[in-house]
């Protein structure tokens, strides 16, 4: 028997396709999955705070860092410089994140206050995460404007330690987490979780580029179940102005995979500006919950 594979294949496809039903609710399921990803991403931004001290990284891994003793001295020097600079200036951080995966995003931070906000294409608020004043106390909140809901962020979510996977995952998120940055960076470089990888020109400034080592971590059961993937792989790169000791850009990327479907890659770059702490600028570092928004018990319910 000779095989006319092409005809048989065509007929086989038609027979196979006859059994395929009209899909129902796929767009809603996809929208839910996307929102869950947003929730996971927002969790990474929770508690973000002053990045200024990240600067330390730059000098820590400076070009003259030869032996460990030299590096330790350099690190200590830079950490002290950055701490002093931050203490003197009390600057407000404003970050603007661009990404092919998400809408335009802004990040404001001043001391313990911070606000991360993603906008729609038409510049309407989409999600916000950060600190809000509730009962006179700074509290972590997550707001979703598309369905007019908000929730409190879980307390006690301390930033990951410098050499932990959690630390890198947070750095690769949309906004850097709250932490003692000088100590974090010092430890990160000391343990090899980050290294100086050269220079890059940004807005006419020859910045120092520091790259965190990529890490892979298993998603929590809840997260894994929500997006049907098991693993997340993240990395980050920081660019620091060597003259002012202030970071000018932080880029991060993450890739979730390990489910039945192709993996999901997202990346973004945050351009950082340092602003005077005027009342208006400081106010922008707080999330405001619009009246009429419904309070739900956890971000997962949004």
């Amino acid at each position: 028997m000779t095989l006319d594979v092409e005809d048989l294949l065509r007929q086989g496809m038609e027979r196979f396709a006859e059994k395929v039903p009209v899909p129902s609710g796929l767009a809603r399921r996809a929208a839910r999955a996307r929102r869950r990803r947003l929730t996971i991403r927002a969790a990474a931004a929770a508690g973000a705070a002053a990045v200024a001290a990240v600067t330390v990284i730059a000098a820590t891994g400076g070009a003259d860092a030869g032996g460990s003793a030299t590096q330790a001295r350099t690190t200590a020097y830079v950490v002290s410089r950055v701490e002093k600079a931050l203490a003197d200036q009390h600057l407000v951080l404003r970050g603007r994140t661009t990404s092919g995966d998400w809408g335009p995003s802004f990040y404001w931070s001043y001391g313990p206050r911070n606000r991360f906000m993603e906008l729609t294409d038409s510049a309407e608020p989409y999600i916000a995460v950060g600190t809000a004043l509730i009962g006179g106390k700074l509290t972590g909140v997550y707001v979703t404007y598309y369905n007019r809901r908000w929730s409190l962020l879980p307390e006690g979510a301390a930033p990951g330690s410098a050499c932990s996977m959690a630390g890198t995952l947070e750095m690769a998120g949309p906004a850097p987490p709250a932490r003692n940055w000088p100590a974090f960076i010092q430890a990160t470089l000391a343990c090899g979780a980050a290294s100086v990888t050269g220079h890059a020109w940004i807005d006419g400034v020859k910045t120092v580029r520091i790259t965190g080592s990529p890490v892979t971590e298993k998603l929590s059961p809840g997260e894994a179940g929500a997006i049907h993937e098991k693993w997340v792989r993240s990395r980050w790169t920081l660019y620091v102005n060597p003259r002012t000791y202030l970071p000018v850009r932080l880029s991060g990327s993450s890739y979730t995979y390990g489910g039945p479907m192709p993996g999901y890659y997202s990346s973004g770059a945050t351009d950082i500006r340092w602003l005077r702490p005027t009342a208006a600028n400081v106010a922008k570092a707080l999330v405001t919950i619009p009246p009429g928004f419904r309070h739900v018990s956890s971000p997962a319910n949004q």
Binding site: M1, L3, V5, E6, L8, L9, R10, Q11, G12, M13, R15, F16, A17, K19, V20, P21, V22, P23, G25, L26, A27, R28, R29, A30, A31, A33, R34, D101, W102, G103, T120, D121, Y126, Y146, N147, H228, P260, M261, P262, G263, Y264
Partner: protein, 181 residues
């Protein structure tokens, strides 16, 4: 436009065109369930490209389905595991139903091809796209499309030939066993 409204509009679009897209997705993946997963992943990508939601999303979804199916080598191993089970279910009968079985088997055997060859064959024999159209959709050269189609068909012939030989051998064994008993 609010996101909820966009999603509802997309549901309406899928009510009209979703079955055609799902058929392609199912052929690319080997099962309706995996096809739904693939289509959902494509829709999720569409949702983050908000500007595309205001136009006709079909072209984008179709292209994304093919790219996701082609790019992901991991899917191939999943497919092969499923195919092994499916092949075991195929009746080994050399009678008049053999041709029908072979048609079904060929569709299942698609999963043993590399992703690009499989995608090219689905686009050619299901979507009825010609070489230039396929090349444009996959973002590759016409030569690559022709080469993938040719190699894919050759491989399918080999696999189908092997399937036929197995069936014949099984039939012979069954016949002999029947004679001896």
């Amino acid at each position: 436009m609010a996101e909820d409204q966009r999603v509802e509009n997309l549901e309406e679009f899928l009510a009209r065109r979703g079955q055609a897209l799902l058929r392609t997705a199912a052929l690319l993946t080997g099962s309706v369930q995996a096809g739904e997963d693939l289509l959902q992943a494509a829709i999720e990508r569409l949702l983050r490209q908000r500007s595309r939601l205001d136009g006709d999303p079909e072209g984008y979804l179709r292209r994304t389905l093919c790219n996701l199916a082609t790019d992901e080598f991991r899917r191939q191993s999943t497919w092969r595991r499923k195919l092994h089970l499916l092949q075991a279910e195929a009746p080994a009968s050399p009678d008049a139903t053999a041709a029908v079985d072979l048609r079904d088997a060929l569709v299942r055997l698609l999963g043993q091809l590399p992703p690009q060859q499989r995608t090219v064959l689905v686009l050619r024999y299901w979507e009825q796209l010609n070489g230039p159209e396929t090349a444009e959709l996959l973002g590759c050269s016409e030569y690559a499309v022709k080469s993938a189609a040719s190699r894919g068909l050759r491989r399918l012939r080999e696999l189908a030939g092997g399937l036929q030989r197995d069936e014949t051998q099984l039939h012979d064994v069954t016949a002999r066993t029947g004679e001896e008993s």
